[in-house]
Symmetry: D2
Subunit: 348 residues, 4 copies
Amino acid sequence: MKLPVGILGATGAVGQRFIQLLENHPWFEVTEVAASDRSAGKTYAEACTWRLPGAPPEAVARLTVQTTDGPFRSRLLFSGLDSSVAGEVESALAAKDHAVVSNSRNHRMDADVPLLIPEVNSEHLEAVAVQQRRTGGGYIITNPNCSVVGLALALAPLHKAFGLASVHVVTLQALSGAGYPGVSSMDVADNVVPYIGGGEEEKIESEPRKILGGFANGAFVPAPFGISASVHRVAVSDGHTMAAFVRLVQPVSAADAMEALASFRGEPQERSLPTAPARPIHVLKGNDRPQPRLDRDRENGMAVSVGRVRADRDGGLKLEALVHNTIRGAAGAAILNGELLRARGLLA
Amino acid sequence: MKLPVGILGATGAVGQRFIQLLENHPWFEVTEVAASDRSAGKTYAEACTWRLPGAPPEAVARLTVQTTDGPFRSRLLFSGLDSSVAGEVESALAAKDHAVVSNSRNHRMDADVPLLIPEVNSEHLEAVAVQQRRTGGGYIITNPNCSVVGLALALAPLHKAFGLASVHVVTLQALSGAGYPGVSSMDVADNVVPYIGGGEEEKIESEPRKILGGFANGAFVPAPFGISASVHRVAVSDGHTMAAFVRLVQPVSAADAMEALASFRGEPQERSLPTAPARPIHVLKGNDRPQPRLDRDRENGMAVSVGRVRADRDGGLKLEALVHNTIRGAAGAAILNGELLRARGLLA
Amino acid sequence: MKLPVGILGATGAVGQRFIQLLENHPWFEVTEVAASDRSAGKTYAEACTWRLPGAPPEAVARLTVQTTDGPFRSRLLFSGLDSSVAGEVESALAAKDHAVVSNSRNHRMDADVPLLIPEVNSEHLEAVAVQQRRTGGGYIITNPNCSVVGLALALAPLHKAFGLASVHVVTLQALSGAGYPGVSSMDVADNVVPYIGGGEEEKIESEPRKILGGFANGAFVPAPFGISASVHRVAVSDGHTMAAFVRLVQPVSAADAMEALASFRGEPQERSLPTAPARPIHVLKGNDRPQPRLDRDRENGMAVSVGRVRADRDGGLKLEALVHNTIRGAAGAAILNGELLRARGLLA
Amino acid sequence: MKLPVGILGATGAVGQRFIQLLENHPWFEVTEVAASDRSAGKTYAEACTWRLPGAPPEAVARLTVQTTDGPFRSRLLFSGLDSSVAGEVESALAAKDHAVVSNSRNHRMDADVPLLIPEVNSEHLEAVAVQQRRTGGGYIITNPNCSVVGLALALAPLHKAFGLASVHVVTLQALSGAGYPGVSSMDVADNVVPYIGGGEEEKIESEPRKILGGFANGAFVPAPFGISASVHRVAVSDGHTMAAFVRLVQPVSAADAMEALASFRGEPQERSLPTAPARPIHVLKGNDRPQPRLDRDRENGMAVSVGRVRADRDGGLKLEALVHNTIRGAAGAAILNGELLRARGLLA
């Protein structure tokens, strides 16, 4: 018996990924789709210009799009809403007893909302109880910014084993990260844009500290290291590449760092969640890897690839990380969060 | 009366740029072209598959290609030779009284060979006299790696004014940097490659320290700061983008840094050398600049663009620099070096 | 003494090209710039996000943008207006005695408006007198669709010498043809789009027949051959490539066709108009030419390149044509039209 | 019990696709891999730089590469050999009783070698018996050029139902069609190349006529229509797009043509061969389809997509066809051919 779920922002870029990834999901079944007033009342097939390969699943194509006001029969709602509306809509639905699993940025840094990467900080789910005291039963959980998922996953084993002192990171981000129509083709043809709006650098500099920090006495305690980010848009369809310089409290060899990365596992692997990658981090040996076109789809896009782990000056490390930004970095991240909620009994 | 010059490696990617940039040059005239044995004896038009827009200049197209053994009538020889042969060929020609102005990497770090950016370290030309004592009259001068020209120019005013403590830099390098055929299209289609062979990172980590260092008591003294580099190939035709994190001995505001960069001038500007840009560094204000397609051709490709100068944590700076890799970063750099030699009377 | 001119739609993609190409023009000086109400009242520098390399000319940057209602002091107005507004605005200005030289599609097929390629059909300017009888003195002249300029120029010498029977043409069109933001990067990343809206195929199938036809007894008489077009958007910044299959009334060898193309000249060449290419058609010999990146800028983007002229079955020809779509195919085309008007005394 | 098969040219681009597509194949198991002398003696993992996403299958990675001289235990050999060696090697192996299923061009037009698209001309397998009389038991069958598979599949239903009179086709071909390293990135960056070597246009103009022709009295009889082709390389990783103008003996509406295309089935569908697409031709309704990135992977890359079917002048049709060039257009085509051989009992 599958659990019915609703998709908020179902016709958008992230919404389409939710629907694609949930086709044939063993636990969840998309039975409700919501979007803006402009789409409401149409079938999903009519309302949506499907921009992923192929065509939308038949069962969803026939659903009638409703507005995000609800009511929804599904307790679990996945949100791919635009940040211009996500804040209020998600709060309202949490107040109506829904479990809102959101990819939007609005509530990520809220004082009682988990910013969750299940392999890294599943203990942050304790904040749900705090939140429920406020709402009466509903709650919001969020996944990080698309780059941050890749960065924080790659940093987590190093932080646990050796302690992070500081991180400098430069991103080369894919076009799909901007949604549709997103970036003008004139801006990336034969070009690189050294800027991404919407506070991208600020998110990369703050979210990992919440994720890698603790939850104690009812409050999040950010991890004590600093991050500097410099972001770029490049002409790649999917897959964010990140070049990081990592300084550690305890100097470490490249070999030990690779061992810590490769052996990293978390609660999704222990529980064998349906969307969990067998190995959350693939450590690649080739000196020219990871590459977006060749590595973004590892484990159905749910594994982060790390390569070129090498010694930096002064005992630091240099490394490259790659994340499929619309799967592990967005819709897939949220689905894994939803799976963890169910496995923990938080959807009962 | 123009000075006759010869081009070594004339049919290659850098050689073609030399010939293109020297068309209608006010001081120099290409009268000799040399390449591998395979090309020797043919006209330049026959020997060369011209890969720049348009067609080679008529006067050069008619020249007969000779081998790099010489003899050459021109004292001044510009070298775009492949590093597999440049080392010996250039040494042999310096021993025959030629002034070899080379873009190749082989002699850059030699103990008595200037690694020259005329705006930055023209005092390193003192090493020529040391070299001449060894050779009897001929000598070699070199320009830096294509990325390094951009990086060292952007760092020079900051180092002079505030003192560099350390630099982390990530490059997004253009395809033309690899010559022809260079990078396979299959490797960059919808992709980024986080690696460049030939010791690219090592060059970026070492050459700027020679350039920004001194020459005292007949020896080069490297500048005392460390550089960490992480390099990438991206699908851009021309123009290397660099994201740098700069730590300074003396903390500085972004405004003061921009002022130091924008007001920077050197000997080429004082002497009004023909190829010198009016302003070696263009400080761009737009928050999404510099961009390769829009900014690489500033001042005929001889100006370096710097943008997004902003405060980093702990009193450091973040900035983006862009250099046209085959003009300011290669052939144009060497031509400017040649102009400085003439202006200094070193070609007499 | 330069003639003052105004630019309609000055902040748009075509408007920016007008301003770029008219910098330092020997006959014309941009003294008025007009755009939408949103921009009016600001300086051009404030109103315009300049998307061409470098920065807008200083003299224009200081101009205050006015609305397209006028009044304008310049008799000659170049129009790069969007087709959603060009129809009415241009008619109104022609009614106020202006000579409107438009790149917009709205009036191209009007019964008394020349659709002009000065090398091909300058005799169509006779229609101006017809038009002036209607307006009282003002008039509109237009240049063709960006692809059509290249196609019609390549076909004109063949039609004159041998007579066209039919043409099949497939286009591979550049991104800049769609303006800004134009095509979403998600639509062309690792992709080709076999469609262009706005009636692109219909324009290619109809405009050349007007251009290559006659003007007799006060009316245009379309040329009697048929054209079939199939259009594509490809990931190229500038330069439309066209593959044509041409059937001729009188069979012709590839050599004779190439001779007719290469020797083609028209009134702009006879009159040495400032923007006229010395040779309107460059016939390229390399079996892999023309190519957008290598050939679009020939003669400052005003020459059309034709290559791979070869025999087709049944006495026909196959050939490739390339046009710089925003120069010869848009702003440069209009400027050349304006120059012809002045040389003919039609701006007095 | 799976049939053991060998792969000739196993380390090349097509060889890698064979190995990828045969992983978990229900009928065939790769047990032998052959390549050049340079690779022989190494394990496949050592000999091969895997350029497809992920890594080669474990079972194949462990195999030792042998030379193409044999001996081979497998009767069935799939050949992805380079055309410089395929001619002789394949003939020699057919003479040794092997069934060689080749993707190489060398034997495609031989008088007794089927050029096979199983949905279209499976009756051409009668030529195998003719061939076996010559060889004593072994034989060669071939699949067409990568573009031709898509074109001939799209034309077959139209030819059967309405009779083809003539075809003009322009291709926009993907980079992977040139193998590795194939096309230099400098040749396609911001560019289109209107030429492909190796007789690409000639193949497209001749192979479909053999495929759509008959086999009678022991000889192939080409179909009586003419084809004109004009080929281009574009910056797309996988997927050849073709724009065709089709003239038919019997004029036809677009609707009837689409019906003929969409309902087309052949022997692979009747026999439910493992690699056969359920529908060989997907007729797409969107006016901007097919597109390589969105449609090349339909039915695991084995379906050809056809769109924009519309009336041309004079009763003809215009249409766009898309084929995944390294799957349906190469390795997948050969595997389907091999499956048909087994189903027909030709591997006994």
